[in-house]
Every structure is written in structure tokens, then in C-alpha cells.
């Protein structure tokens, strides 16, 4: 896919024919220097923005053909998001934040039970009814992980999920994501500028000058274009 911002002389090519594929259950890092286009790439995969050219297939569906409403439903059902600042809704409790994707999707069947189980698995069973702004940054990020997983999405996308945390908490969050990925056979795509903290992963996609280099280590090995 290609993404161009601006028009005329002010055009900036954020992504330049970046092409790659990710399989079910893979734990993938997107790395690159600042301004290389990794967050832009994540926005395209997360359907938060549309590519200028090219296509994004998720579960075999060409998402570029979906209209705004269908994209919203698709994001709700197929994608989970973890943001750098956790971005919990401070008006809601921890439990309500985890339940939010279910409420938005209108699927409430066993939601509360699932949310409680997820919160238990991220070690927050005692914080369920606390307001989201009353918990620590590390706890908030764990809530965000639970929220990202509640709808059993095809892909969980994380943008610098440890960027705002100290090294100890970062380590806990990384381990949590890896264990959840393994336990649930869940695909994770993580944008990070600290890949070394993640240890062994299934794949690393390096973005350089808007192009994607795919590999399973930190060296730029192969350009897929």
C-alpha cells in the first residue's frame, strides 16, 4: 500500500508500496526510526485511515472496499487496539472500559463474565469497579489489553504500548501480551522503537523511507515491494 499526505509540492509519501503478510497467531513487531511511517502503517492496518493506493486484506476481506459503517463494525469485531497512553475512557470504570467494545458492537450475552475473566488473567480482578483515571499507568495498559481482546479479534494492534511506561512495567506488559498471544493464538501487531525488549518474536517488519522490510530479526534483510 501507498499513503501520500498533502497535495502538489507539499506531498509527502509516508508509505511507498509497503507490502507484507501476517499469519494467524503471529506476534509481529513493526519497527523503524521516528517518522519512517510505522504509525501510518498501523493506521492503515487498523482501518483508521485509508491508503492512497493499494489494499489491506484482513481475514481475506478487502477492507478498502468497505464503507464507513462497515469499517466501524469491522474494527469492532475483527480488530483490537492498544494505544500508547492506554486511552481508557475516564468516565467509565475498569470493567466498563473492557466491556466497551461489546457494548458498541451490541453483543452483550456473556460479556461481563468474559470481561471479568480477562481482567483476572491480566491481574486486575480487584480493580473492576475503580474509575479508569484512578489506576496506575501499568494497570491502565493491562486494562487496554483486556479491552483489545474482549471481542476475540483477528488482530490486536498496539502502538508503542510500552512507550509511556517504566522498564519494569514495560517488561510486565510485554510478557502479558506474549502470553495472551500464545494462550489465545492471537495475532499481535506491535509498533515499537524498542524491539529488543520484546525478545523472540515471529516476525519483524522494518519500515524505512515508507517501505517495508520483512524478517524475523532486527536486521534489514529483504525488501518486499
Amino acid at each position: 500500500m501507498t499513503k501520500i499526505y498533502g497535495i502538489g509540492e507539499n506531498q509527502v509519501k509516508a508509505l511507498d508500496d509497503a507490502t507484507f503478510s501476517i499469519g494467524q497467531g503471529e506476534f509481529v513487531l513493526i519497527v523503524g526510526s521516528s517518522g519512517s511511517g510505522k504509525s501510518t502503517l498501523l493506521n492503515m492496518i487498523g482501518l483508521l485511515d485509508r491508503p492512497t493506493k493499494g489494499k489491506v486484506f484482513i481475514d481475506g476481506i478487502d477492507t478498502t472496499k468497505l464503507d464507513d459503517n462497515k469499517i466501524s463494525s469491522f474494527r469492532n469485531k475483527k480488530l483490537g487496539f492498544i494505544f500508547q497512553f492506554s486511552n481508557l475512557l475516564t468516565d467509565l470504570t475498569v470493567l466498563e472500559n473492557v466491556l466497551l467494545p461489546r457494548q458498541i458492537g451490541g453483543t452483550n450475552g456473556s460479556s461481563e463474565k468474559d470481561a471479568r475473566e480477562l481482567l483476572k488473567s491480566v491481574g486486575l480482578e480487584s480493580q473492576l469497579n475503580k474509575r479508569a483515571n484512578k489506576i496506575s499507568g501499568g494497570q491502565a495498559q493491562r486494562v487496554a489489553i483486556a479491552r483489545g481482546l474482549i471481542n476475540h479479534p483477528s488482530v490486536v494492534l498496539a502502538d508503542e504500548p510500552t512507550g509511556n511506561l517504566d522498564s519494569v512495567t514495560s517488561g510486565i506488559i510485554i510478557q502479558l501480551m506474549k502470553s495472551m498471544a500464545k494462550k489465545l493464538n492471537q495475532t499481535f501487531i506491535i509498533v515499537t522503537h524498542e524491539p529488543e525488549h520484546f525478545g523472540d518474536v515471529d516476525k519483524i517488519i522494518t519500515i524505512k523511507d515508507g517501505r517495508a522490510l520483512e524478517g524475523n530479526h532486527l536486521r534489514e534483510e529483504e525488501i518486499i515491494a
Binding site: N76, T90, L92
Partner: protein, 397 residues
């Protein structure tokens, strides 16, 4: 997203921004309060003037004759009216003007062109409350006494009860008729709306002086139920098809005095509604602030699947909540003020006491209007909220 959940989110987001909520509710409340205060004061003043004109001068129905004077007997007309159950009383009135001389402390005081009202003391108390305005002495006692309006007494060098005065009236033939009277009482009404500028005397005495034996200038009819005025008037006119009677309800007979006031009230109401519009603009501003303060949350909700419609409805719900609370608080505050004005018989600087009524139709209409305006005011901020891109949530803050 279910409606119930949208409402829950709207409430939660709004109630956690107490400052904005209070500001927006206050804007609606003040808008409603302005309308209520305007209504209590200006409509109250208007109704008070109508009340006083009705009580002191015109009754609920005023009967006159095209030929200036009614020549039918008092008894015949009063009996005709008083057999109708809605009628409280009917009384004849006769008007003229006089020149009055009075000697006070050896000094002659002369007043000209003083209005004189002739009343039937027996019937008048049933149809008018003029007798209730007696501040000193009594109402008309006999044919040789008069009651002075407070202003007339003042102009006559503070005339007192028991003093005598000389009155000159020109009769129908142009002859001067002079008589001496004793002051039986002095009337004073709130705001001077009663007979404060007149001299009141027995109608038969005035008839004598004017050489209008058995004639009346008007017939004042007071009803138990003023809403039946039109019905009674029509009934009366139908009963006397061959006479030249003119019968008018209070609205018709006082129209000249009230017309200017009526347009003034319309203007004041308009200003009130402009005030309400200002409240709507305040709501737009406050809600825009709310939307701007929730950019990140809106982005997050959009990124995890909330549709534009969901965001739109959440913020419209906020407008509805603001409108509902504001309308409730504003109406309660307005009603509180209305009750206070009614119970205390509010007046300004001892002037005419306001005639305060609970106009439920207007109260409900005002509340609904402000509620609707709050919703309309929330449309633009809600629309703006839907325009926020989910990618906002991914940006660092």
C-alpha cells in the same frame, strides 16, 4: 450500540463534567426564568390594570347607550341582570365634571373640571370594589354627602372627613347647579387605579344636578365567572333588540386603555424569547467545549467500532439531558418566583399589586420550548463530534 447504553454514556460523560453541566443548565434556567419574571411582572401588571378597570369602573360587562344616556329604569336593568346566575351585581353609574370650592383655614381653594361619578350606594357595593378603597370615613351615606378621591382631597388642601364643600355642575340645559356637600369619606386605591381622581356622590343627586331624572350613563355588570362575559353580553343584547344598547366585555370596553400595553407586553415577551435564544447559544458554546474536551474519547470509541450515528446520538442525548434538567430547574425557579409574587401580592413602590395567575399553558409551553431549543443547540456540536477522525485516538497526547 443500544439506545440505553448511548444514554448511559451521555449521562456519564456529562455528569463527570459538572462545571459544564451546571453552566449549560444555568443557561437554560436563566432563559426560562427571564420569561417567567417577564410574565409575572408585565402580564401581572396588565391583568392588574384590567382587574382594577373591571372592579372600579367597567365591570365585566359595561352597558352604555348609543344616545349617550340609558333611560331604562335602574330596577328593570339590575333585575334583568341579577336573575342570571353568573351575575354578581349590576349597578348604574353616571359621570360628569364639577367645579369645587372649599375654604380651608380661611383660604378659598378652587378646583375645576373634577370628574364626578354618581353611584347607587346600595347596588354599587355588589358590582364594584370602589367602596373597599375607603381610607378614611365611609362610602356614600346619603344624598348630601360625597366621597373624595385621595388626589382631589389633596388638591383641596388636604380636605378632611366632615368638612363641607361647594360643588357646581352645569346641567343639561347649560344652567349652573350649585350645592353644598359634606365629605363622608376619602378613597385611596393602590396605584391610584380606583376613584382617586374623582368625587363620588349619590347617583340621584347627580341626576338632579344634571337634570337627568331616571337616566344613567352606564351600567356596570360584575360576574361571578368572568369567562361568561361574552355569553351574558350576547344574551342581554338579544333580550333588548329594539334598544340602542351597547354592551362590551372588559376587553372591549378597556381596549383603548390596554392596546398600547398589549403591544408593550408582546415586545417584552419577544425580548424574553431572545434571552432564551442567547441561552441556546450558550449551550452550543458549552457543548462545543465538551466535544473538544472529549476528542480523545470520541477517537477511542470510533477506533473500537462506534459509528458516527452513535457519537451523534450520545451528544444529542447530552443536549436532551441539559434541556430536561434546565427546563425542570428553570420551571421550578420560575414557579417559585410566581408563587412568591402571588402570595406577597407583589407591587413596586406601593403601586398597583400585580394580578399574578398561573398560566399553565404558557409554563408548559416555555419549558417545552427551552427543552427543544437545548436539543437544537446540541445538533451542531454533535455533528462536529461525528466529524472527528478515529485516527485522533492514535495520536499521542
Amino acid at each position: 450500540m443500544s439506545m440505553e447504553y448511548r444514554l448511559r454514556l451521555a449521562k456519564r460523560m456529562l455528569f463527570n463534567k459538572k462545571g459544564s453541566l451546571i453552566g449549560a443548565v444555568l443557561a437554560v434556567t436563566i432563559g426560562i426564568l427571564v420569561i417567567h419574571v417577564n410574565f409575572v411582572i408585565f402580564q401581572g401588571l396588565f391583568d392588574a390594570i384590567v382587574r382594577d378597570i373591571s372592579n372600579y369602573r367597567n365591570g365585566d360587562i359595561l352597558v352604555t347607550d348609543e344616545a349617550d344616556y340609558i333611560d331604562k329604569s335602574d330596577l328593570a336593568l339590575a333585575n334583568w341582570f341579577e336573575r342570571i346566575p353568573f351575575v354578581q351585581g349590576a349597578t348604574p353609574r353616571l359621570s360628569s365634571s364639577a367645579e369645587i370650592n372649599m375654604t380651608k383655614n380661611g383660604k378659598l381653594i378652587e378646583e375645576t373640571r373634577v370628574p364626578v361619578v354618581g353611584v347607587d350606594p346600595y347596588r354599587d357595593v355588589k358590582a364594584s370594589t370602589a367602596h373597599e378603597t375607603v381610607a378614611e370615613g365611609t362610602y356614600i351615606l346619603n344624598r348630601n354627602s360625597v366621597v373624595l378621591g385621595n388626589n382631589v382631597a389633596s388638591d383641596l388642601g388636604n380636605a378632611q372627613v366632615g368638612e363641607s364643600l361647594k360643588m357646581l355642575i352645569v346641567d343639561r340645559y347649560g344652567e349652573d347647579q350649585v350645592r353644598r356637600f359634606t365629605v363622608a369619606g376619602i378613597v385611596k386605591s393602590p396605584g391610584g387605579q380606583g376613584l382617586d381622581y374623582s368625587v363620588v356622590m349619590h347617583i340621584d343627586t347627580l341626576r338632579d344636578m344634571m337634570a337627568r331624572e331616571g337616566e344613567s350613563g352606564s351600567f356596570m355588570v360584575k360576574l361571578n365567572d368572568p369567562t361568561k362575559a361574552f355569553e351574558v353580553k350576547e344574551f342581554f343584547l338579544a333580550a333588548y333588540p329594539n334598544d340602542d344598547f351597547i354592551a362590551e366585555t372588559i376587553e372591549e370596553s378597556a381596549e383603548e386603555q390596554l392596546a398600547g400595553f398589549r403591544s408593550g407586553i408582546a415586545m417584552i415577551n419577544l425580548i424574553g424569547y431572545f434571552g432564551m435564544m442567547s441561552s441556546a447559544f450558550a449551550i452550543v458554546t458549552i457543548q462545543m467545549m465538551l466535544v473538544n474536551g472529549k476528542t480523545r474519547e470520541i477517537g477511542v470509541m470510533r477506533s473500537i467500532g462506534a459509528k458516527r450515528k452513535d457519537i451523534l446520538i450520545i451528544f444529542i442525548f447530552q443536549g436532551m439531558i441539559i434541556g430536561a434538567i434546565g427546563a425542570g430547574v428553570g420551571t421550578a425557579a420560575g414557579l417559585g418566583y410566581t408563587i412568591y409574587a402571588k402570595e406577597t401580592k407583589m407591587s413596586f413602590m406601593n403601586s398597583i399589586p400585580l394580578e399574578v395567575n398561573y398560566n399553565w399553558e404558557k409554563i408548559i409551553q416555555t419549558a417545552l420550548l427551552s427543552f427543544t431549543l437545548a436539543i437544537i443547540a446540541s445538533l451542531y456540536p454533535s455533528y462536529r463530534a461525528t466529524k472527528l477522525l478515529p485516527v485522533e485516538a492514535m495520536r499521542t497526547v
